[in-house]
Symmetry: C2
């Protein structure tokens, strides 16, 4: 395939005319496809078929320690599930809280607590214009929490091995910098996993602010696409090695293990952080939905069963990722206007197109009936400074739909980039 | 029975000796009984036996509008349940949000939002030392939220027809007064229901603070003990009549309908309030556990079925309430040192003993193996100015246990009050 960057003006025009025709043909198919959110597909929802049928009149309602899960109580969740997620996150079960259905809510509530009650120091909201470090491209819902609270976001380059640590180490010298958002494994959206060195450097951070916290959103902790998955270093162990265990607050959930809307969210942290978090939680609620927790504990009765279950998700997701990646390779390889990640897990592919073209790609996709994540969403304030990054979510459509969707996407990328190159050549 | 207040010194001593013997005998039984929390008993938990078996592989996961309840989405909850609780609260379904398992959490989050983002005006936390009106005796968890946030609590007398409205109307002239906690039906702990006049006066409040909100915790909306229950005027209708619809935010839950730990919490309010609340919720979460909502919608498929179900709760609870009330009547009637409410619904009986004796009653109960709600808990800051009020929760123990527990309680009341009268007579 020709490298667009080395084409003459005339060659660009010719190629554009051809791409335009392809685009118009695709547009006439009146498609309605969605690659915008990391939403599991129906085929994945069915993998947990028996979950709801593990608790009820026939099987009872009693958890390990004799707790009747129907009644009030149990702020931290049931022990068998705390223990399981302790294994997932590599911490003791005492350091784990199993909550409701939304880890986003746990993160929001944790930031809220920082704002209004603080993490040991004054409430963040009383310390002036506080700031958060936001490795980008990153997860839009993390950034939305900061934006909602008026927390200034500082964009940190997210490289192939994790956030640019030189930058991070520089910025944490500012006492107004109170935290950093991390999706350390199969990062949203790039799919990369933090290297051991990056994890160690994060664990060893000595921020000027004593109430600085690493928001470690390990959403894809066991979400490998292949038998050989990425390995993430245990940040909590690394923190402990350097007497820094209060630095990090960890999150995960079963949203992409059991049911997206009805899973179990998990928060884990050091005894001091737990004490702070629980001092709020005990005022906020009497306890989580333990019946749903018991269903999960009975369905995933060991760590081994849990990882076996994840292989079934992988077998559904792998062909979807490969369909998109094959299409990108087929249509865009060597064009010089696009590059993308090839994640070994998680829910996203990150596609970078020629600078200044991402928004236009989004428009063209939309006109042709394909919804992709709003370009810019992967950056703080929804503004990608290079207008280059696109997040592709292959989980929800079927493989057949993904074939069409990827073609639309690739043609739109060609269209937008050629259009720009032609304009530049004028 | 003798009125203790008219006994001579010698008669008091004689009676006390007798009561002391009774108390020692009871103490030797080594009881372990709990009347401290409004926790439904096992017999009530079993009333919802089939609830978990209404959704699953056999019955599917699809709500009315075709929503797959397993997946993400649906911030406001599923429509069939919003509609049902619209009927319970007397509002349109559009004004209702069905959430997770905890209405306490919804209230906490609503107050938090007031503190940090505000209700139209500046955040409450930026307006100085804000205040809340706290009709008392009242619900300790409401007061705990205020205490957690350093919101100054102003105690309002809770009379037989609701809060003392002269006081309320006076205090709302202070622009730092931002709200009032109300449990309008079968109030916690007195069991009284607000009169029509009180509801109308609340609805017509014109507080100096535009961001003043009535926190209307209608926890016992349909929780009658008898066929003929108390009638509560629809506050939202009354507010609308006087163009005051943004004044009130309503809450209820199924914690005492289905399962205490795994029910559905409900928040309802005017379009403006909903807009404010949802502007936070959409950042905080992707949506509630819709599978649990679907189970509830299928179990309580009409308002009629719901109220029929409540009659089954009543048939379990009524004998428990009557056991305690009979015991109070038998032991304490005409002693002049105790008076109590005879609620027609809800979860509590409020017992007022001779001033300065409630804490002592608590101690004596504890020593004899009976846990009651910590005396003082029904007042702001846990301090009952008269040290007189005790909250009795008859729902959790069995009738047989309640017979013993009530006897312990009554003897402890006699003991504490006689002790005080003797000391006074010295």
């Amino acid at each position: 395939m020709a490298n667009y960057l080395s084409l003459t003006k005339q060659e660009l025009s010719n190629t554009f005319e051809q791409v335009k025709k392809e685009y118009e043909t695709l547009k006439n198919n009146n498609l309605s496809l969605d690659m915008s959110r990391g939403k599991p597909g129906f085929d994945q929802l069915d993998l947990c078929g028996g979950l709801l049928d593990t608790v009820g009149e026939k099987y009872g309602y009693i958890a390990m320690k004799g707790t009747d899960c129907r009644n009030y109580g149990g702020l931290e969740g049931i022990d068998e599930l705390r223990s399981l997620f302790g294994q997932v996150l590599g911490v003791e079960y005492e350091d784990v809280i199993c909550g409701g259905n939304s880890s986003l809510q746990m993160m929001f509530d944790t930031i809220t607590q920082g704002m209004i009650s603080g993490f040991g120091g004054e409430p963040w909201s009383k310390q002036g214009k506080i700031k958060f470090l936001c490795p980008a491209p990153g997860y839009d819902r993390h950034f939305a929490i900061c934006e909602y609270y008026g927390i200034e976001m500082i964009t940190i380059e997210n490289n192939a091995d994790g956030p640019d640590m030189d930058s991070v180490e520089k910025f944490v010298k500012d006492p107004l910098v109170k935290g950093i958002w991390c999706v350390p494994k199969y990062s949203n959206p790039s799919g990369i996993t933090y290297s051991d060195e990056v994890v160690k450097r994060i664990a060893a951070l000595k921020p000027a602010a004593k109430d600085f916290r690493v928001m470690w959103d390990n959403a894809y902790a066991i979400h490998d696409l292949y038998d050989e998955g990425d390995k993430l270093l245990n940040i909590y162990e690394e923190c402990k090695k350097v007497n820094n265990e209060d630095l990090v607050i960890m999150f995960t959930s079963t949203s992409k293990i059991s049911y997206p809307g009805a899973g179990i969210a998990v928060e884990a942290a050091s005894p001091l952080n737990m004490q702070i978090i629980k001092s709020r939680m005990k005022i906020q609620t009497i306890g989580p939905n333990k019946l749903n927790q018991l269903m999960h504990a009975r369905t995933f009765s060991s760590y081994d069963k849990l990882t076996q279950h994840m292989k079934r998700h992988a077998s559904v997701l792998r062909p979807k990722f490969e369909t998109v990646l094959n299409s990108l390779n087929h249509h865009l390889k060597d064009t010089g206007v696009a590059e993308w990640t090839e994640p070994r897990g998680g829910y996203f592919i990150s596609l970078n197109v020629l600078e200044g073209c991402a928004k236009r790609v989004g428009e063209l996709c939309k006109e042709a009936g394909l919804t992709i994540t709003t370009p810019g969403a992967t950056y703080p304030y929804g503004k990608d400074p290079k207008d280059s990054n696109l997040r592709i979510a292959p989980s929800y459509p079927s493989v057949a739909e993904l074939e069409m969707a990827s073609e639309v996407l690739c043609v739109a990328v060609k269209y937008a980039c050629l259009e720009k190159l032609i304009n530049q050549a004028k």
